[in-house]
Symmetry: C2
């Protein structure tokens, strides 16, 4: 269990982690925010023991440091705080793409602390401190992503951190993580955006008739564009592979619909839908209290 956690960035994930740590464990929590206004807002939530724009002050006493900023802001901040992080402290992050983050941050902390990447899969389309809640990680899958040279101690500490706020920890290499999330997170996001845009282009009248199916299929398209642009850019090779794989499936379906042989066509379509239904029903989703 951590006893003093520094959280860098007071957004949805950082803010929720601060609330969760205070609510569940009572450990000391210090939060860094870039802007004074964010410091005041975070103080208004009354959960952290220290909130400051001075990152060095925030990390000084921490046995655990968590980057919860946009991915692009992490290396600069890491370089600034590295000399001030306690020796043997755990350093981790909550970025949605892991190979680029881990390969940039691990060397920066190599001489000072133990770095390992994390990806708590929580948050969906909401963002900002206002959406933060203490139950965000309860039941959520939290992927910890050791590289080949990551210490076992770092993996253990990160596992302990996420378990302390109710997360279900799984382990993947940074590269495997990025391939997995390309398919189950990044592709669905692009798909939701493409579906909404296609309807807008081709049949905008249809928006007046949307029901629960369209609502759920497109929900993730409401996510923050800045964050998602960064995610898709960082993971673009894997995401492109996933997009192209889906295009191939859709093209097969289009060809099938064009078939002039109704019996064969319907038999093949039914087989396709039956398999998809069975695969869908075989999935086990984490029961996340904050996302009922």
């Amino acid at each position: 269990m951590p006893s003093h956690v520094a959280i860098l960035g007071p957004g949805l994930l950082g803010g929720s982690l601060a609330l969760a740590l205070k609510a569940c464990t009572g450990v000391a929590v210090a939060v860094w925010a870039r802007r004074e206004a964010a410091v005041e807002e975070e103080k208004g939530r009354c959960c952290a023991d220290l909130v400051s724009t001075d990152a060095r002050e925030v990390v000084a006493d921490a046995d655990t440091v968590v980057f919860a900023t946009p991915i692009g802001a992490m290396p600069g901040l890491a370089t600034e705080i590295a000399p001030h992080v306690r020796s043997a402290a755990l350093v981790t992050d909550v970025g949605s793409v892991k190979a680029p983050v881990c390969s940039e941050l691990a060397p920066i902390f190599h001489a000072h602390a133990n770095f390992v990447g994390s990806h708590p899969m929580a948050g969906s389309e909401r963002s900002g401190i206002k959406a933060a809640n203490a139950d965000l990680f309860r039941g959520a899958t939290c992927i910890v992503t050791p590289a080949e040279d990551t210490s076992a101690a770092a993996v253990e500490s990160a596992t302990s951190l996420w378990r302390s706020v109710g997360g279900v920890v799984k382990i993947l290499s940074p590269e495997d993580h990025d391939r997995v999330v390309a398919w189950i997170s990044h592709l669905p996001h692009l798909l939701a955006a493409c579906l909404v845009q296609s309807v807008a282009d081709s049949q905008a009248q249809a928006f007046d008739f949307c029901g629960p199916g369209f609502r759920d299929t497109t929900r993730v398209a409401g996510g923050p564009p800045d964050m998602w642009t960064e995610i898709l850019s960082e993971n673009r090779a894997a995401v492109r592979g996933a997009v192209d794989g889906l295009i191939e499936k859709l093209s097969n379906v289009s060809t099938l619909l064009a078939s002039a042989q109704p019996l064969e066509r319907d038999a093949a379509m039914k087989k396709f839908l039956t398999e998809a239904k069975a695969q869908r029903e075989g999935l086990r989703f984490p029961k996340n209290l904050s996302d009922a």
Copy 2:
């Protein structure tokens, strides 16, 4: 308001309509089921005044007749009951595709009754009498689809029927209806199935990491394959157009991800995601009590 409603087919929609009519309005309800076992099951729900495998008996006293069978079973059953339907009765159906249904059923009832198609947009991936509930149509969009020669009386009666169980009625021609649902219902269904199948083919390991986003994006893939095969077959021209439109959008995204110019690439991606987010947030979904 109807005073005596005959419902042909005791599945999710027919069973829910029977429950809703009894709960909300107290009108007499008669239900036809093809199989004796379904008759017994429907009687177990204790809501209809008459349940029988004899369609003629079920429609004999009805001022409103609702087809809630699979689309393929409607014409045969219509021919059987048409001579026994009360003069000037409303005849409608709940099929998910309207042009083929309306063009087949309207002539059958031309001399006997007033036919107009309906599509209550409720039900999603559940099916069968066990999933039936009296609130299924409460707040749901119910599309009534008059053809050029449909009587105003039929439209009024169908509107009254769906409003009596809490539906929000909208009017579209059968052809416009089919184009609209191709984009907002049939395409999302195929997309959910294609997404699940793509992951299964290319990155099955990823299924262990699915979160709320993947859960919601693929929810409709759990729908009944028999029903969906029939829907996609009946509406295949419009569905194919929608699938091809989406493939084009996804291809543009794939090309964008492959761009070697990071600034232009990220600016274009952010614009695309920002537009999709705004379009998604502009949508107003019906508040359907049964689908919270």
